[in-house]
């Protein structure tokens, strides 16, 4: 089991799960969005405050499996300081490379929940486009 275990729950995943970065709420955030994966009950809410077009601060709260929470935590580090437009165009692979573990289709949705919610928040806050590939996912993940 150890190699399979190390593959999925590698140290950095467990570290982000137990000590999530950017965890919390931004009072008076410019925009917030939330989403859940009804299959698992994973939930993520994301709060964003902007400085012009730039993401000045971003935080999340949520509950769910280690993969969903760790990947959202990693996402917070990836996007802070970048422009809304840049992050709206960010590919899934950029986050998945960071997560860096092989994922089954079900677990893939866990890993992408945070990114879906963030893109929705940027869409709500800055009118950035929601890529077509997210349309189906947005339904699956009950984004709002």
């Amino acid at each position: 089991m150890s190699s399979e275990f190390d593959n999925l729950y590698r140290e950095v995943i467990l570290d982000h799960y137990k000590n999530p970065r950017g965890h919390g709420v931004i009072e008076g955030a410019d925009v917030e969005a939330e989403g859940q994966n009804p299959l698992c009950g994973d939930e993520v809410s994301i709060f964003v405050s902007f400085d012009g077009d730039r993401i000045e601060d971003v935080k999340f709260r949520g509950r769910g499996c280690a993969i969903s929470q760790a990947s959202t935590s990693m996402l917070m580090e990836l996007v802070k300081g970048r422009t809304a437009e840049e992050v709206a165009g960010m590919s899934k692979d950029e986050l998945l490379d960071e997560v860096g573990i092989p994922l089954t289709p079900v677990r893939l949705k866990c890993a992408l929940l945070g990114l879906g919610v963030l893109k929705l928040a940027l869409h709500k806050g800055k009118g950035t486009a929601l890529p077509e590939e997210w349309a189906g996912l947005a339904q699956d993940l009950e984004l709002k």
Binding site: E4, F5, L8, L14, Y17, D42, R63, G64
Partner: protein, 153 residues
């Protein structure tokens, strides 16, 4: 099933046959018969007693495990099934760790989201025992649960 088909007209068979197209599930019917014979030979009372013994073996071990919360009534009022949560670990992660230990459990909201809300949990893990379960497997199960808690909390 049809009664007669021509190019211009289809006549369906009478009920229930019109809804029973194709080969009847013969293998399944024979299999069901064999399963009934098998269970009757062992005896349903004996199976229930064995399930209860497994529960009496498993429940105290699980309840004694650190950071484990067991849901549901006392052993005398349940079937061979136990839902639980592990402190700090999402049920899907618990199930994943148990899977690697060779133990298959169900994890999720079990088609019962309102109950999950009432219990204040996103989901639970759920193990079930039956006549083919042996106590050593329960030991492995409990050890796996303890391992999951150590990993995630």
């Amino acid at each position: 099933m049809i009664r007669k088909v021509t190019v211009g007209r289809t006549t369906w068979n009478e009920l229930p046959h019109k809804f029973e197209a194709g080969t009847a599930p013969i293998a399944e019917a024979v299999g069901l018969g064999a399963a009934i014979d098998y269970l009757s030979e062992i005896g349903l009372d004996a199976i229930e007693r064995y399930e209860r013994d497994l529960l009496d073996y498993a429940l105290p071990k699980l309840e004694a495990a650190e950071g484990v919360r067991v849901f549901g009534p006392s052993a005398d009022r349940r079937a061979g099934i136990v839902s639980f949560e592990v402190e700090g670990a999402h049920p899907h992660d618990v199930a994943q760790v148990l899977d690697w230990e060779g133990v298959a459990v169900r994890a999720g909201h079990h088609c019962n989201q309102p109950l999950m809300a009432k219990l204040g949990v996103p989901a639970t893990s759920r193990a079930s025992f039956y006549l083919y379960t042996v106590p050593e497997e329960i030991d492995r199960f409990v050890a796996g649960v303890e391992k999951a808690r150590k990993v995630f909390s």
